[in-house]
């Protein structure tokens, strides 16, 4: 028996669309014989069969877009496959409802999508181990302890059982509809719940004992609030599955909010001096094919302030504060399809030109989807720039395991009082989101004052 998965056709490719099945269920295929065609972007690719045998199941139909490594079909030996299904089904199915019954009674519908770490994403699991634990349906009391490493109880937990009994697609549908998969009889191999099973279950819900949308008692969800489902069957809605990138951002943001005690502080900065230096030096930089922007000055000011207030460039590890000797500056880059934070490594060793070049290169490659995984990891401090979209200031969420993030607000000419006269100055707000577990307001403000002072008295000879 071989699973056929959506292949990873490139580093930056997270999903693919099935354009055409060349073989039908029941067809014989040889190893390496073309099996289906996929499409990503402007590229079509023909995918060969990973094994010889008979195509016994197609799990993703033409037009479906699925994440890489999702099982899209199963190839087996025709006779063996049927026998295996028969043998396995009785063994697993009766066992299924029992363990599921208990969790449903205590903490009912939480087939929590955030806990669904795809098997293909070990990096993601490593980066954010806590959500799995925090979100795990209350299998046992210890599992609910926040930030504990996910316990693996002996035997099958409800989650493992669901996993064994379903594909990621089915778990996703189940999550969307708040259905407990372990309560559905599976017609697939080994009692697996197929997409067809769960859709049938959703259509004809009442015939089954398990309610489709169980009334959630208050306090049942980890967050403590009972709220209405996003939509009901028949509502006028358009449902679009989240991309892999979107899901990762969502998980990380919630994880960060649960991890750090976020506090924000906002400073107003006078950029008039920076603006005039920039105007004077712009042409010099342009000759070297780089664009001198406010971000160049902000990066330099942040690096200087991080050196002066090193706890901002640290992480919390258990009961210890880990000071990072290198300053790896993450710069958030907005993409049409999401957000990515490339990292300028050892920013403290770079001058203005070096920082400007580095961010230009990283941003260009981020937009061209050519960043290497290494280039988005290891950041020690982040700058994000909501101001480019017009925001006066942002209240950014920390990128874990960092402890602070600086948000750059819109920079514009404003009316200001200078020496008791009304003047026009180039100004903007800077905000700092920081982790109050280890950074107190006075320290955060010391850092921000340093940034502000550097910008307002910028050393033109350093540009």
């Amino acid at each position: 028996m071989s699973d056929v998965v959506m292949p990873q056709m490139g580093e930056s490719i997270a999903e693919g669309t099935i354009v055409r099945w060349i073989k039908k269920v029941g067809d014989r295929v040889d190893r390496d014989e073309p099996l289906f065609e996929i499409s990503t972007d402007k590229v079509d690719a023909e995918i060969p069969s990973p094994a010889a045998g008979v195509l016994i199941e197609i799990r993703a139909k033409e037009g479906d877009t699925v994440p890489v490594n999702t099982v899209v079909a199963v190839i087996g030996e025709a006779s063996a496959a049927v026998a295996a299904t028969r043998a396995a089904t009785p063994a697993v199915t009766p066992a299924a409802p029992a363990p599921a019954a208990a969790p449903r009674a205590s903490a009912p519908p939480a087939v929590a999508p955030p806990a669904e770490v795809r098997p293909s994403a070990p990096a993601q699991a490593a980066a954010a181990p806590a959500p799995a634990a925090a979100y795990a349906p209350a299998v046992s009391a210890p599992a609910a302890a926040p930030a504990a490493a996910a316990p693996t109880p002996a035997g099958l937990s409800g989650d493992q059982l669901r996993r064994r009994k379903s594909s990621p697609l089915v778990r996703k549908i189940a999550g969307d509809h708040q259905v407990d998969i372990s309560g559905i009889a599976g017609s697939g191999l080994g009692g697996r719940v197929t997409k067809h099973d769960i859709l049938a279950h959703l259509d004809g819900a009442p015939r089954d004992a398990a309610p489709t949308v169980p009334a959630a008692p208050a306090g049942a969800r980890p967050s403590g609030g009972a709220y209405a489902p996003a939509f009901k069957p028949g509502d006028h809605v358009h449902v679009v599955p989240m991309s892999v990138m979107r899901k990762k951002i969502a998980e990380h943001m919630v994880f960060s909010k649960k991890t750090s005690a976020h506090v924000h502080s906002v400073f107003e900065v006078d950029y008039t001096r920076v603006a005039s230096i920039r105007d004077a030096k712009k042409a010099d930089y342009a000759r070297q094919d780089v664009k001198l922007t406010f971000m160049s000055f902000l990066m330099k000011a942040a690096v200087d302030a991080l050196k002066a207030v090193p706890i901002i460039n640290s992480s919390l590890d258990g009961d210890s504060v880990v000071y990072k000797k290198e300053i790896n500056l993450g710069i958030a880059v907005a993409l049409d399809w999401g957000l990515i934070v490339p990292v300028i490594k050892k920013a403290e060793e770079k001058n203005m030109l070096g920082l400007t070049r580095a961010i230009r290169d990283l941003a260009a490659r981020a937009r061209a989807k050519q960043l290497k995984p290494d280039e988005v990891q290891g950041g020690t401090f982040t700058i994000t720039n909501p101001g480019v979209f017009g925001a006066q200031f942002g209240m950014p969420i920390i990128s874990q395991p960092q402890v602070a993030i600086m948000g750059v607000g819109h920079i514009e000419k404003r009316v200001a009082v200078v020496d008791d006269m009304i003047a026009i100055r180039t100004k903007g707000y800077l905000s700092l989101g920081y982790d109050h577990r280890i950074i107190d307001g006075a320290v955060a403000d010391e850092f921000m004052s340093h940034v502000k002072r550097t910008l307002e008295t910028f050393d033109a000879s350093a540009v």
Binding site: D32, K42, D44
Partner: protein
């Protein structure tokens, strides 16, 4: 450091779209079998509108009636490639690389980015600054498309490829919404440089850039 792989260049002149398809099919099979080395076909098509695999969708992006197309001598062709509707015609250099991306270039996005790079570099030799637009495959000058891309990959052997507007009569693009993108125009080297460019010369530059980007040596 292994020695660069050989690349055979085939300059085919004007080839009908269907002939081009047949030739590619044969060469892809031979390349998969390992009977031939990597190939770069350079050619021009007579006026033709080609539809991508999502033919239903792309047909809506053909703005002219079949009668009007016939009157202008423009063919309509369905293809197996990705992408939406595209126009090919005289003055446009079409490049069909039939190359194996194994073992070190097995990344479809990288391949597409590399094709964009080839056209960006050639544009640069004419002092034209072409660029990528994130999310919109192709090579762009400002908001106008200079080169289009549509690719097919079988066992990491490529077919179809790029279409580079050199002296293309851009009026023909008014027959379609190029690649379903309605708010962006098309352009050509002729429009950007203000003169007709000899195609063999542009081909030379494409070959040099291609060999460089893909690290191939030209077979003699």
């Amino acid at each position: 450091m292994s020695s660069p792989r050989p690349l055979t260049i085939r300059r085919l002149g004007v080839v009908s779209y269907t002939e081009g398809l047949e030739l590619q099919r044969a060469l892809v099979a031979e390349r998969i079998a390992g009977d031939i080395s990597d190939q770069l076909l350079l050619l021009q098509h007579p006026h033709v509108l080609t539809l991508g695999v999502k033919a239903g969708e792309s047909r809506q992006h053909v703005l002219a009636t079949p009668e009007r197309l016939a009157q202008l001598g423009v063919e309509l062709q369905e293809t197996g490639r990705g992408g939406d509707v595209t126009y090919h015609g005289p003055g446009q250099i079409v490049g069909y690389p039939i190359i194996s991306l194994k073992p070190d270039r097995c990344d479809v996005h990288r391949y597409v980015r590399d094709l964009e790079e080839v056209m960006i570099r050639v544009a640069a030799t004419y002092q034209i600054e072409a660029a990528r637009i994130p999310g919109l495959t192709g090579t762009w000058v400002g908001a106008e498309k200079l080169g289009a891309i549509g690719v097919r990959i079988q066992r990491w052997v490529t077919s179809h490829g790029f279409a580079f507007n050199v002296n293309t009569d851009l009026d023909f693009f008014r027959l379609i919404v190029p690649c379903g993108i309605s708010d962006r125009g098309v352009t050509s080297l002729r429009r950007l440089t203000g003169r007709d460019l000899p195609l063999p010369d542009v081909e030379d530059r494409l070959i040099a850039a291609f060999a460089d980007v893909f690290q191939r040596t030209l077979a003699t």
